[in-house]
């Protein structure tokens, strides 16, 4: 991994992106002892407004806590894709929900489209684990955090009684990485 890895998770309030960012950062900082900062921005609405969560993971001290050179962009709405793709350098990996982001991702990016929300709703059985499915997908595609750390971080944060559901969501996300992102995984080697 390079010194500083920048992740932006973008969509709507209510999709669990802030929590997803917190979990990812905790996996890196608490369970893998790297440096990580999570931050977010959102509007005054409690749900339904645009929401953005950012995670910086680094082996070094993290000064500026916001993304300036995005390595990974997750888009769970078309509006998020429209707004943030233009901020991304060509080296960025773009992951989008194929049902919620109908626009094409420009070919200059490495990209993966997967029906993340539908997988949560239909395969796992609860739409509210969309964020955890996304984390499974991100973990398998990038390896930015290890699976044991991510699983611990997820189980630390989710409500009691939902552990199995969330473990299953991680698994479904990781399987989706192979089904929809084989081109990325094979390029990684």
């Amino acid at each position: 991994m390079s010194k500083r890895y920048e992740i932006r998770l973008a969509g709507l309030g209510g999709q669990g992106l802030v929590l997803a960012g917190v979990i990812l950062a905790e996996a890196a900082s608490i369970f893998e002892n790297k440096n990580a900062v999570q931050s977010q921005s959102y509007g005054p609405e409690s749900r339904g407004g645009a929401s953005k969560s950012e995670v910086i993971i680094s082996d070094e001290e993290i000064d500026y806590p916001k993304a300036t050179h995005i390595d990974l962009l997750l888009c769970l709405t078309d509006a998020a894709a429209e707004k943030y793709l233009k901020d991304c350098p060509e080296t960025a990996l773009v992951i989008a929900d194929s049902d919620l982001v109908p626009s094409a991702i420009p070919e200059k990016f490495r990209s993966v489209k997967a029906p993340i929300t539908r997988l949560a709703r239909e395969t796992v059985g609860k739409e509210f684990v969309t964020n955890i499915v996304a984390l499974g997908l991100i973990q398998e595609l990038t390896g930015i955090v290890g699976l044991p750390a991510l699983e611990k971080a997820v189980l630390d944060r989710v409500p009691k009684g939902t552990e199995d559901l969330n473990k299953r969501a991680l698994e479904v996300g990781r399987e989706a990485a192979h089904e929809y992102g084989a081109h990325i995984l094979s390029a990684k080697g």
């Binding site: 900082s29 608490i30 990580a36 000064d63």
Partner: protein, 385 residues
């Protein structure tokens, strides 16, 4: 959070937001009374306090408004508790009258102001540093001001402890000025063990029941020892000009003594108050002065400028007020230019200009669009002619 981190003998590792670290710092400092009216982006402090305080035998009250919140923390402090409230710009405006009262009546308390865009209700969820001068001059009249501003999660914890210590030591209302980015971002924090946290408690008079007590009679420190209500001594507390007994007195001599003492008690001890960081300032030809989250952008910009061969450095006041004037002048010793980035239109820049005088050009980098100041903007100002 089941474990009471602040009561632990060993350090505790957590992944917290600035607001949560502030709350932990307050509890570690001994805060056992919080009265407030929740407002973004400070609400998590009240929320977490409401869960934690009752378990520690403390009190949490959600008040009807901000001025009442101040009234409650002043009253509880007079009764011996370490007290705090938390708010943001609109609420901070409403608190000003009672902030002045706490300063006049010399009641220790801590006000956290998580700055958001203003004036008025402004931008509730966006970051800002536009209350800096309100933290200094928000309440009317000449008054002392102690204002701290952290730039990391660990520092949010430490400066909150420090705010309580200064409030107790100087018998005044101390302000913690966080910006929304520090309040809401999360980082790993090692919460120190209880015995490693320095705690200051208000100085008490050495009196036996029945001894005469003048509540506002100061010794050479200019800070009167404080007897808590309920400990056997009764006295008068007022926002009016008063003499050593605490009763109103409009005598000109008395007023002069009182007002000068209130300001001087902080001024004469100000070297104990200065918290700051110098980063590569020894030979800095371009000095950046930045605080709060903006200082993190500035540090990055300084590193990038150094990589280009520019001798840049960062001075970061943690104590915004009193202003570390000598320290700023010293850091600017070799500077041909000074850059002051702020998420406001130049409030602290004016102070830096005043301190350095006309010999050194001071350039402001100001944004009030609810977005953080990116390192590239500061770098342009460092590099630019």
């Amino acid at each position: 959070m089941s474990a009471e981190a602040t009561e632990k003998k060993a350090p505790v590792i957590k992944f917290l937001a600035g607001n949560e670290a502030c709350m932990e710092g307050a509890l570690a400092a001994g805060c056992r009374f919080f009265a407030g009216y929740p407002i973004s982006p400070s609400s998590e402090i009240a929320e977490k306090m409401s869960g934690r305080l009752p378990k520690l035998g403390g009190k949490f009250i959600q008040m009807e408004d901000e001025i009442a919140s101040m009234g409650a923390i002043i009253g509880a402090s007079l009764a011996g508790a370490k007290t705090m409230t938390a708010t943001s710009g609109p609420g901070f405006s409403l608190m000003q009258e009672n902030i002045g009262y706490a300063m006049m009546a010399e009641v220790p308390c801590v006000v956290v102001n998580v700055m958001r865009g203003g004036p008025s209700t402004g931008n509730p969820t966006g970051p800002s540093q536009s209350d800096v001068m309100q933290c200094r001059w928000g309440t009317h009249g000449d008054h002392p001001a102690i204002v701290l501003s952290p730039n990391s999660i660990r520092e949010a914890f430490d400066t909150t402890v420090q705010c309580f210590n200064f409030a107790e030591q100087f018998r005044t209302c101390v302000v913690l000025a966080m910006d929304e980015i520090v309040a809401h971002m999360r980082e790993k924090i090692v919460i120190p063990a209880k015995e490693d946290i320095k705690i200051v408690n208000r100085k008490k008079p050495d009196l036996k029941p029945g001894d005469p007590y003048k509540p506002y009679e100061a010794d050479a420190s200019l800070i009167p020892p404080m007897m808590n209500f309920g400990e056997g001594f009764r006295y008068h507390v007022t926002g009016l000009d008063h003499d050593a007994t605490g009763f109103p007195s409009g005598a000109p001599d008395n007023q002069e003594i009182l007002h000068r003492r209130l300001v001087d008690k902080v001024e004469m001890h100000k070297d104990e108050l200065f918290l700051f960081e110098n980063h590569r300032t020894e030979d800095a030809e371009v000095l950046v002065v930045a605080y709060g989250s903006t200082s993190r952008s500035a540090k990055r910009a300084v590193e990038e400028a150094r990589a280009q061969g520019i001798k840049a450095g960062l001075f970061r006041p943690i104590t915004l007020f009193p202003i570390p004037e000598k320290q700023i002048a010293q850091a600017a010793g070799h500077a041909k230019k000074v850059v002051v980035p702020e998420m406001n239109l130049g409030q602290y820049r004016l102070e830096v200009e005043r301190i350095l005088g006309p010999a050194v050009p001071v350039v402001g980098v100001h944004r009030v669009n609810g977005e953080p100041i990116a390192p590239s903007l500061i770098l342009s100002a460092i590099v630019g002619g």
